[in-house]
């Protein structure tokens, strides 16, 4: 591995190019500040770009995200590094940070790639597609997803056999196995953390059978099944490809649950489950959808009406926590739950179960800084040192936080939080 030492400076380093990081970068850029936007993933757009429609307006998520992404990608004041990570960020003085930026090789020259997909066709290696949450496969030479930005191929070097088939198939000769990791050291005046969240790993609650029973899916997998760019072009259950007609949602999986170390509410799962249930009712008019809940938290603008609309459409809401799930012979699932209204334990059979998994902090945020450490809150989200008056302030002067890096929140709140962080960063830069 070689090491190129560069020293370039920007006004701001924005870590994370999801919807919050993108919004913050854009706010800085339109006011004339130079931004480096660093994204670990191969595409910008974060979690939102992978969603189907968004509550409570049922806007198509791609329709909102793609033009934003395009504006971010094009802005002359924004430099985007995908497949890259920041580390060893240290505060040297007021208005002066130094960070190490590591750029992983994509093994594809993005500027030459036309996304023709011939490399995908040629590649003999199939692995599970992380962008479809493992529902289907992809090749080791692949375009991350259809609306990815940049839309260019990448080589998954972990799984690549170095057979060279993609190189031979590529009409523009953009595949380049000689690319190496780049190490850069860069200077910034301010830092915005928009490192987002991680979803709770449903494997951690074995009694719900995720990973063991094929027809138990996570809500993100269902999100892909109902997205416009969906993998199967319809909704079906994985065990036998049957279109489900009795679907259950289990809320608070990994949230409000001290036994898995996460006592807080994830703030978005009630609403995304209600949204998915409405989309399912539309796509499968004959299907029954039941949502098992503790409390429905429809608190935002237009949320309560959206919840009532789901009830009106015939979504069945059952107040009760699901204790366990078992599989029947035909791949159906038996839910054992306490029906709180009636005060008794009941069982109900469904042919597909969606676990509405919660939001956890992105553990990667903790290792961004060396020397002065970033303080975390008790749930390991970035600590807001002045939570009421200055929600984007962190324990390090000149470092601001945006979006779900501070805790669970929905898209409108994440965008407002990004507006807040960029406002503080602009004020800091003008000081």
């Amino acid at each position: 591995m070689s090491s190129t030492k560069n020293s370039v400076s920007y006004d701001a380093l924005v870590v994370g190019a999801g919807i919050a990081g993108g919004e913050a970068a854009l706010n800085l850029a339109v006011n004339g500040f130079k931004v480096l936007l660093v994204e670990k993933d191969l595409s910008v757009g974060g979690n939102m770009i992978k969603l189907s429609k968004v509550f409570p307006t049922l806007d198509c998520s791609a329709c909102i995200t793609t033009p934003k992404v395009s504006e971010i990608s094009r802005h002359p004041n924004i430099t985007i590094f995908t497949g890259s990570e920041a580390s060893n960020i240290r505060r040297v003085a007021d208005n002066h940070f130094v960070a190490n930026i590591t750029r992983q090789p994509r093994y594809v020259r993005v500027e030459d790639c036309t996304a023709c997909q011939l490399c995908e066709k040629a590649c003999p290696v199939s692995v599970r597609d992380q962008y479809q949450f493992g529902l289907i496969g992809r090749k080791a030479a692949y375009i991350p997803f259809s609306i990815a930005s940049p839309k260019a191929a990448a080589i998954d070097i972990e799984n690549c056999t170095l057979c060279g088939a993609c190189e031979r198939a590529c009409p523009t000769n953009c595949i380049d196995f000689t690319q190496e990791v780049e190490h850069l050291e860069m200077q910034f005046k301010t830092v915005i953390l928009a490192t987002g969240f991680e979803m709770f790993d449903a494997n951690r609650i074995p009694r719900y059978g995720f990973g063991k029973y094929k027809n138990v899916l996570t809500s993100l997998q269902m999100e892909r099944e109902i997205a416009p760019t969906r993998p199967f072009n319809t909704i079906l259950r994985p065990s036998d490809g049957k279109v489900p007609d009795k679907i259950a949602y289990v809320l608070c999986v990994g949230s409000r649950d001290a036994s898995v170390g996460n006592p807080i509410c994830s703030q978005i799962c009630c609403m995304y489950s209600i949204k998915q249930s409405q989309l399912l009712m539309g796509a499968l008019p004959m299907a029954d959808v039941t949502i098992y809940y503790i409390n429905i938290r429809a608190f935002g603008k237009g949320f309560e009406d959206f919840y009532q609309q789901a009830k009106g459409m015939g979504v069945n809401f059952v107040k009760g926590k699901v204790g366990s799930i078992s599989e029947t012979e035909n791949g159906n699932l038996m839910l054992r739950y306490e029906d709180i209204n009636e005060g008794i334990v009941k069982e109900e059979e469904h042919d597909m179960v969606i676990l509405s998994v919660g939001v956890l902090p992105n553990e990667g945020t903790t290792s961004l800084f060396s020397e002065e450490q970033l303080m975390l809150d008790p749930y390991r989200f970035v600590h807001q040192t002045d939570g009421l008056a200055n929600p984007s302030h962190t324990s390090i002067d000149g470092v601001f936080v945006a979006g779900t890096a501070t805790g669970p929140m929905d898209i409108p709140d994440a965008i407002l939080s990004a507006g807040s962080a960029s406002s503080e960063a602009i004020s800091y830069l003008l000081k």
Partner: protein, 644 residues
């Protein structure tokens, strides 16, 4: 020379193509004389398709494009930018909305939706044929922002803009800044008090040279538009000069004969018509409540610093942008709603919070020591179609927080929460857990049979069919009933009406798009922040306020703004100055002018919004709207009706 057009028909990932046969639409228009190329695309707005469009325009030397996709509200600017990147004047791009107007509207009729789409696209092509290159108008932007409302959202926006070297005018209707937050005691999550928070914000603001604070003041008229709004501000006098200190005020208060319920404590205490110097009331200057004062003159006699003859004053200011942070009103229950105004033991959540703050060692209300407290949730919220259907967001957490404070501050408090599903979202959940640990009891009513408050022999009871105990009827005798009242839009709508700001179904002010443009309004240059938009807690209000400040700053930071050249043009020969157009104009953009010695209508193009209200009322057909000229509209109608 005829136009060389490129036409793009979007699938919208299924939003359109599930109901409209987009390929058939493409085939129907591909042979149109001026259509050089036509394509269907999965997402017209995606980065890769945008790149392709730029290449097409350049390689095929296109002189116009038509995009048939979603509403132009969403993507007009996206495709205008595509045109510009390809060196095509952006006004040569025409949009056809085939999603909202065809696929979504006719999802039950694929054939009909496809036919309608074909006509919509043909009409857009007909318009694009006549489209002309235009240059946006450039106007100077004044580096000043008016912030209306001096609550936490307004104060934070003012500080943030001042930090960005922008002149700020903070206009507060009340005599004191601080808004609702100034009225609160300890707040979740930091346990900071409202007084502490407002005092610190005021201290940061008051010393700044680029901030002017107008209290007791209202915007009474405005003209102009983004970049240069002219506002008239009317200030009601305080009648008391700054020299009046606390001691002198006390003397005046002692002689004042007028006693009114104090709005600052939500009416649980009274005050005189002359008052001031309370904690969290800034500026530290006394005032006279103009509405309550009888002008008896008693105070004037004991204080030389009082002058009841002072008159209202008016100033005119120019700003580049306006930021609305006018806040909310707490819901006032109807008489008899859960015993409100009929049963002495029933108060609202804001009153309860003030009661806790004002009480030492013992919690006493109306002479009675309070031990058992019932909280009835969702009063004025989640009322279904007949009332406020929305959730007020802050109240579950605020109630639980207050109940915990009461329990910790006073002895022998028992809390009974009659709720409809607790919504302590996010990290607020830990407060709910703490409350349960402290032994608070939660009883939950069904939506169709709410809790009931009744009294028997002077004792107050609350009863509910509790779904947490198999829907059994539970009754609790309590000393105090706290109605957890939600947020409603301000009853005083003068200023939002003045600016003609659109409201949503919930009657709060509405943003353009919840996710794409969450702080902008339909009126260019006016942003919204805090609870005038929807219920929010303090941190959420601050986030929205700083977002609005960033947006306001972006409008004016370059000192120059581009406005749409889509304005009306008046044919001086045809115009007879009948005044019809100027009456119809909602923006006062048309005034009387002269053509030689003939009176004619003249348009102020920086104020004209191109709404077109004036064009149909003109009896001599002297007005044409650029990009929507009569010729273009007729051409579109011909295309839409060619088969009839």
């Amino acid at each position: 020379m005829d136009k060389r057009l490129g036409v793009y028909i979007c699938h919208c990932g299924g939003n359109i193509s599930d109901y409209v046969d987009v390929e058939k639409v493409r085939e129907a228009i591909e042979n149109d004389g001026c259509v050089l190329m036509s394509k269907t695309t999965q997402f017209a707005c995606s980065d890769s398709n945008q790149k392709e469009m730029v290449l097409d325009i350049q390689e095929q030397n296109l002189s116009g494009i038509v995009v048939a996709s979603c509403s132009p509200k969403l993507h007009l600017n996206t495709f205008r930018q595509v045109s510009e990147r390809a060196d095509l004047n952006k006004y040569n791009y025409v949009h056809a909305n085939i999603r909202e107007q065809a696929s979504w509207a006719h999802s039950d009729d694929k054939k009909g939706a496809t036919e309608k789409t074909i006509l919509l696209v043909k009409a857009a092509i007909a318009k694009a044929r006549l489209a002309e290159s235009l240059t946006p108008n450039k106007i100077m932007a004044i580096n000043a922002v008016a912030v209306i409302g001096g609550g936490v959202a307004g104060l934070k926006a003012a500080i943030s803009l001042s930090d960005k070297n922008t002149q700020v005018v903070l206009i507060e209707r009340e005599p004191f800044i601080g808004g609702r937050v100034g009225q609160w005691g300890e707040m979740f999550t930091t346990n900071q008090t409202g007084n502490e928070l407002i005092s610190s914000l005021y201290a940061q603001l008051v010393t700044r040279k680029n901030v002017q604070i107008y209290t007791n003041s209202e915007v009474v008229s405005y003209s102009g538009s983004i970049g240069d709004f002219s506002l008239k501000i009317e200030t009601t006098p305080r009648y008391i000069s700054q020299d009046c200190d606390a001691k002198e005020l006390q003397k005046a208060m002692d002689v004042c004969p007028v006693v009114v319920p104090d709005p600052f404590t939500f009416g649980i205490t009274n005050r005189k018509a002359i008052y001031g110097f309370a904690a969290s009331q800034y500026p530290k200057q006394a005032t006279i409540d103009d509405a309550a004062c009888t002008h008896c003159g008693a105070c004037e006699k004991v204080s030389k610093n009082i002058d009841l003859s002072l008159q209202k004053e008016m100033v005119e200011l120019h700003v580049g942008s306006v930021l609305m942070a006018t806040g909310f009103d707490p819901y006032t229950p109807e008489n008899g709603e859960f015993g409100y105004a009929e049963n002495e033991s029933v108060i609202t959540l804001p009153q309860f919070k003030k009661l806790i703050d004002n009480s030492e060692s013992k919690l006493i209300y109306k002479g009675k020591e309070i031990k058992n407290i019932a909280y009835i949730y969702c009063v004025g919220s989640r009322q279904g179609d007949e009332g406020n259907s929305y959730c007020s967001r802050y109240c579950c957490t605020s109630t639980i927080h207050s109940a915990i404070i009461a329990k910790k501050k006073f002895k022998n408090i028992h809390n009974f929460h009659f709720n409809r599903g607790i919504r302590t979202y996010g990290k607020q959940e830990v407060l709910y857990a703490e409350s349960l640990k402290l032994g608070d009891l939660y009883l939950q009513a069904t939506d169709d049979s709410p809790a009931e408050v009744y009294s028997e022999n002077g004792r107050t009871w609350v009863k509910v069919n509790d779904i947490l105990t198999e829907s059994k009827e539970m009754q609790v005798e309590v000393d105090l009933v706290v109605l957890v009242t939600g947020m409603v839009p301000r009853s005083d709508k003068k200023v939002s009406t003045l600016f003609k700001l659109p409201k949503g179904r919930d009657r709060f002010l509405n943003e353009i798009h919840m996710k794409l443009r969450p702080v902008e309004t339909a009126i260019d240059g006016i942003t919204i922040a805090g609870t005038c938009q929807s219920p929010k807690n303090v941190a959420e209000s601050v986030n929205s306020s700083l977002s609005a400040a960033t947006k306001a700053f972006s409008y004016i930071s370059k000192g120059e703004l581009e406005t749409e050249p889509i304005v009306v043009e008046i044919d001086a020969v045809k115009c007879t100055w009948c005044n019809e157009c100027s009456t119809a104009c909602p923006f006062d953009a048309i005034t009387q002018g002269l053509d030689g010695d003939r009176k004619i209508a003249v348009v102020n193009t920086t104020v004209c919004k191109g709404c077109g209200m004036c064009t149909p009322v003109c009896p001599t057909d002297a007005i044409d709207l650029v990009t929507f000229s009569s010729k273009e509209i007729m051409n579109m109608i011909d295309a839409l009706t060619e088969q009839i």
